[in-house]
């Protein structure tokens, strides 16, 4: 018998255990499996490898990726990760624990979730937050389901056309299978049209409306009056937001919203080709019984000491089964810890500074790009923070090719044309330096239209 580092079994151990169980060999443990299903052939897979060999396989794969300076957001933002975060989140007491079902030996996990909920509530202005969702788009889909659960018997949900496309796609997909009709709030000059929303609400049967600010064009939408109109129609007002931007922008609660959702990725989570990230979801306390996912609450132990537990569990699938609002079980707990440590490190001042730097860099880049003469404003005068949209006179393919050769990922085409010009999206975070901005502009200047 060969030995392997993750299996502590010696030949003697196996023999002793088999004896206790009363079978002659390991395969006899599968005596209840019909013989036709028992494999006799080994897998057609490579042989076991050493750590060094495995590392070099991944290093070789890594070399096939092209390192690029990222000037694109669209739901995934290249913000800086303070070095204490990977250090602390790798502590195995956090990393190798499961869901804190045994509160007495899970106070570490329960406490950081409580802190996370507090920080999400602080950023969104909401009363309650859950312990996390998979990502922003699925959190939006869960908000749709929550709207349906809160409004009994309604069957329509409205989405703004200015939501990020991957958010819309996920919500539409959940809706299609759940039997929900989707209506749209049209886009007018880069923002959600309140008139269009009112027209759709007037059709009736609307359970929830999902609106973004900041939106897919990077525009900070003015949502004045939206929540009132939604409430008149007895529907839930949901805002999809960037939590990093919320440190300086008007909060969903201040806009009168009932539910706030979004992706926690901009809070220091590496791009990591799209995951793992963390969805967040917070609401007003009237709706807490319909909020999906886990929730941690404070209580006391028998000695009267402050402690924390999973609470309001009667909402969840392991108790409610098919009557639960959501099927979520595992969430993104470790990424919630990531975000919690990030916000602790940054504090209110760091968050303001990240936004100021990104804002400054983005506005600087936009001005320089307009100076090249290759772009026009897509939405003149609309306020933005770190992400903006321009109309490119150069075909986006030509632009992309030159940028890739120059080592940049920028000017992402949004698939929208205005005349013969194409909308392209740029983002600048605090990680981008003045030099990087200048060399990006240099590359673009040299593009032959």
């Amino acid at each position: 018998m060969s030995t392997f580092p993750y299996f502590p079994h010696t030949e003697e151990d196996v023999r002793r255990m088999l004896e206790k169980v009363g079978v002659g060999d390991l395969t006899s443990l599968y005596g209840d499996v019909p013989a036709e299903f028992l494999r006799t052939q080994p897998y057609d897979l490579p042989s076991a490898k050493s750590e060094e060999e495995v590392l070099s396989i991944f290093e070789d794969l890594g070399k096939k990726n092209v390192p690029l300076k990222v000037f694109v957001g669209q739901g995934s933002y290249d913000h800086y990760t303070p070095s204490v975060i990977p250090y602390l989140t790798q502590r195995s007491e956090f990393l190798t624990a499961y869901t804190p079902y045994q509160a007495e030996i899970s106070q570490g996990t329960l406490r950081y979730i409580f802190e996370y909920q507090s920080m999400i509530c602080s950023l969104t202005g909401m009363d309650v937050s859950n312990a996390s969702m998979y990502d922003g788009p699925t959190a939006a889909a869960e908000a749709m389901m929550m709207g349906l659960a809160c409004t009994r018997k309604k069957t329509r949900v409205l989405l703004s056309r200015t939501l990020l496309p991957h958010v819309t796609a996920v919500v539409e997909n959940y809706a299609r299978f759940h039997g929900v009709a989707i209506g749209y709030v049209e886009c007018e000059d880069g923002v959600s049209s309140i008139q269009s929303m009112k027209d759709e609400l007037a059709v009736g049967d609307v359970a929830a409306v999902i609106l973004p600010s900041v939106n897919r064009f990077g525009i900070i939408e003015d949502l004045e009056g939206f929540a009132d109109a939604i409430h008149e129609a007895k529907a839930l007002a949901v805002q999809y937001c960037d939590p990093s931007a919320l440190a300086v922008l008007r909060s969903p609660a201040e806009w009168g919203m009932d539910v706030a959702v979004g992706d926690g990725q901009p809070l220091g989570i590496p791009l990591s080709w799209g995951g793992p990230y963390v969805g967040f979801m917070a609401c007003r306390k009237d709706y807490v019984r319909k909020l999906p996912g886990r929730i941690v609450g404070q209580t006391t132990d028998k000695e009267g000491r402050r402690c924390f537990v999973l609470t309001l569990q009667a909402r969840e699938q392991h108790i409610r089964r098919e009557k639960a609002t959501s099927n979520i079980c595992s969430n993104e707990s470790l990424m919630a810890l990531w975000v919690t440590i990030y916000l602790s490190v940054m504090g209110p001042e760091g968050m303001r500074k990240v936004n100021t730097l990104s804002y400054g860099g983005a506005h600087c880049l936009k001005d320089k790009l307009l100076c090249t003469g290759l772009f026009e404003e897509a939405f003149p005068g609309k306020p933005f923070l770190k992400e903006f949209t321009l109309l490119s006179k150069v075909p986006s393919e030509t632009l992309q090719k030159a940028l890739l050769e120059g080592g940049f990922f920028a000017a992402l085409p949004l698939g929208i044309k205005v005349g013969d010009k194409e909308m392209v999206s740029f983002t600048v975070t605090e990680r981008r330096t003045g030099e990087e901005i200048d060399s990006l502009v240099e590359v673009i200047k040299n593009v032959k239209p």
């Binding site: 019984r289 309001l312 569990q313 009667a314 909402r315 108790i319 409610r320 009557k323």
Partner: protein, 127 residues
């Protein structure tokens, strides 16, 4: 053994009904509250909601369980016991005093399907 009150009608899903004219006062039995344990929340409908016989009109929640509430009769909700919102434990303390909703009964013949105290007692003992 759980308490069964005389003068009430009982359903298989452990709701009790007391008729006051055309109004059915509905709560849950001692057996139901006992099997749920300490209640933490009572999910109530709104006045004006209408329910068909056998339809779920709300739920009881404890720390580790949830139990749907089913109306034994069809009709419109005329009143809900709002005190239960802040004090769900009232159902534990006095299940026959802490009514949950009142419904304007459309068809009294629906009551015929319910059990009397003796039959309900036999029923719970068989569970």
């Amino acid at each position: 053994m759980s308490k069964v009150l005389e003068g009430l009608l009982y359903s298989e899903s452990h709701e009790w009904v007391r008729m006051e004219g055309d109004i059915a006062v509905i709560g849950v039995s001692d057996y139901a509250q006992h099997s749920m344990g300490a209640l933490t929340y009572v999910d109530l409908p709104e006045v004006g909601d209408t329910f068909e016989q056998g339809e779920s009109f709300g739920a009881l929640e404890s720390v580790k369980a949830a139990s749907e509430l089913y109306t034994p009769v069809s009709g419109e909700v005329t009143e809900v016991n709002e005190e239960l919102e802040d004090e769900p434990e009232a159902v534990n303390n006095d299940p026959y005093g802490a009514w949950i909703i009142k419904i304007a009964v459309e068809d009294k013949s629906q009551l015929d399907a319910l059990m009397g105290p003796e039959a309900y007692n036999t029923y719970t003992e068989s569970l």
